[in-house]
């Protein structure tokens, strides 16, 4: 299970990488592994406003369709359109080429509600018991 140290995490298995007032987001390695082969992603649309912990994308695997929640509130600046034709990139590289969107954050104070890597690791280990 890969859990990079420089990211923040949600209980719904999204990650965020904050740089200034911007954040890149995606789903975690645990999430992609649980979902299995990912076949389609309904990405956040550039210009859309997203709200922390609210629906922002849908990820479909062979087995199920799952909601993805925004780790932080803000405006979507960019979506990773590579995923439209190659959703399997999320299986191959959940934290790098499999990123979902870039958000301009409206309230960086929200990051206090996210877990750091150590907390997320403990959380995931608790789930698999």
């Amino acid at each position: 299970m890969i859990i990079p140290e420089d990211l923040l995490y949600t209980r719904e298995h999204e990650w965020a990488k904050i740089d200034g007032d911007r954040a890149i987001m995606g789903i975690t390695d645990f999430a992609q592994s649980s979902l299995g082969d990912i076949t389609f992603i309904d990405l956040p649309k550039p210009g859309a406003k997203v709200e922390q912990s609210k629906w922002c994308a849908t990820v479909e695997s062979v087995k199920a369709a799952s909601d993805v929640y925004a780790p932080l509130s803000g405006e979507v600046l960019k979506a990773n359109t590579e995923l439209t034709n190659h959703p399997e990139l999320v299986n191959k590289s959940a934290y790098e080429t499999g990123w979902f969107a870039e958000i301009k954050c409206s309230d960086l104070g929200e990051k206090n509600k996210l877990m750091n890597s150590a907390q997320y690791k403990e959380y995931v280990q608790g789930l698999s018991k």
Binding site: G36, F40, D42, K63
Partner: protein
């Protein structure tokens, strides 16, 4: 996990764990859902050869002289017309013509039969047969001692020939014979649930692990889970009992009327005949999405702005690269008709199509056209 305690396990459960399979409950059994990944496994079966643990399914051994026994009345298949060594697909119906189960019948000898039934329905099927069969018939549930492995894919004859000998190539589609394997004389039929050339092997449970290892020692064969079994069967438009068909649905509604022999008597025939004459309030349709989005069980089917029915099976089709599915609608929607499949925030445009979805299967390869 606590909910797994009550689940039955096949003789291969430890093999699956060694292979790091994802295991999950299916039909009361703890079964392998996937090994390397559903899409990779699916594609391997379409191009090469896959091995499936199907030990959960039920087998009944029956001795019945058709002149004396009423066995023929319990299935929609014309048992008398089956040559020994042949298999047929058909149904056990209730009086309302609802499907108690879909099954494969093997005619072993003039008065000897094997019924192969679904895992979750095995006990109910057995009780139904026992209740209706007259004293002249001997019925034995062999499910606890007899295992089953499916070998499926265009290379399955090449792989199986190494173990069973060249006689395996003589088997025609929907026939079977006895072959000597690992010191046992076992039934192998040329049948399957994938649309590819393939075989079903019936081996006593105690030798199933040895047979599994032997078949997988050939690197052309790989283990395949129930996840890929489901996408493979759905690409062929095959129904899954408990999901696409059940005791409240008739074979006519399910679009499976061609498996009914109308020239014989069977339980449910009167009700089915009535439906054949008067029509039904629902019928099965198949559809392909115009995107990679997958229809899923219970998504609504919307036609011309109105709710028309619900999806029973749906998935991403690895072969087509699009979502596919089937479901029941109230009124006829012609092939080519545009529908929408929806659930919550999801809305998928799709087109009604014929089956199979995947048309290049090797199941009947080598058959005289």
């Amino acid at each position: 996990m606590i909910e797994n305690l009550a689940l039955a396990e096949t003789p291969l459960v430890n093999k699956h764990k060694e292979l790091s399979a994802k295991l999950a409950p299916f039909g009361g059994w703890l079964m392998p859902i996937q090994y390397s990944g559903i899409i990779e496994e699916h594609s391997w079966v379409r191009k090469n050869c896959g091995l499936f643990d199907i030990c959960h399914m039920g087998e009944f051994m029956i001795q019945a002289d058709l002149a004396k026994s009423n066995l023929g009345n319990l299935v929609t298949i014309d048992l008398a017309g089956m040559p020994p060594g042949s298999c047929r697909y058909g149904f056990m119906l209730n009086e309302q013509a609802g499907i108690i189960d879909d099954l494969l019948v093997y005619r072993i000898a003039a008065a000897e039969w094997m019924f192969v039934v679904n895992a979750a329905t095995t006990d109910g099927d057995f009780a139904h047969l026992k209740k209706h069969l007259t004293a002249e018939t001997t019925l034995k549930n062999a499910s606890q001692s007899l295992g089953k492995l499916d070998l499926q894919g265009p290379l399955s004859a090449d792989v199986l020939e190494e173990l069973a000998g060249p006689g395996i190539r003589q088997l025609r589609y929907y026939t079977f014979a006895y072959f000597e394997l690992l010191g046992e004389k076992i039934i192998i039929s040329r049948t399957g649930y994938t649309g590819e050339l393939g075989y079903e092997l019936y081996m006593p449970n105690n030798k199933i692990p040895q047979l599994w290892d032997k078949l997988l020692s050939d690197k052309r064969a790989r283990p395949i889970g129930l996840g890929a079994r489901d996408t493979l069967r759905l690409e062929m438009g095959y129904s899954l009992y408990g999901q696409d068909i059940d005791k409240n649905i008739t074979p006519l509604e399910a679009g499976l009327g061609h498996f009914i022999d109308w020239n014989k008597e069977f339980i449910g025939k009167a009700a089915l005949l009535k439906q054949k004459q008067n029509g039904s309030s629902r019928r099965m349709i198949c559809f392909v999405a115009d995107s990679r989005r997958s229809p899923r069980h219970n998504y609504r089917i919307v036609y011309k702005g109105r709710e028309a029915g619900a999806v029973t099976s749906g998935s991403f089709s690895p072969s087509l690269g699009a979502g596919i599915g089937m479901g029941y609608v109230g009124n006829e929607i012609a092939i080519g008709g545009q529908i929408v499949l929806s659930e919550g925030t999801i809305s998928i445009n799709a087109k009604v199509t014929d089956k199979p979805f995947y048309k290049n299967g090797s199941a009947k390869s080598g058959e005289i056209k």
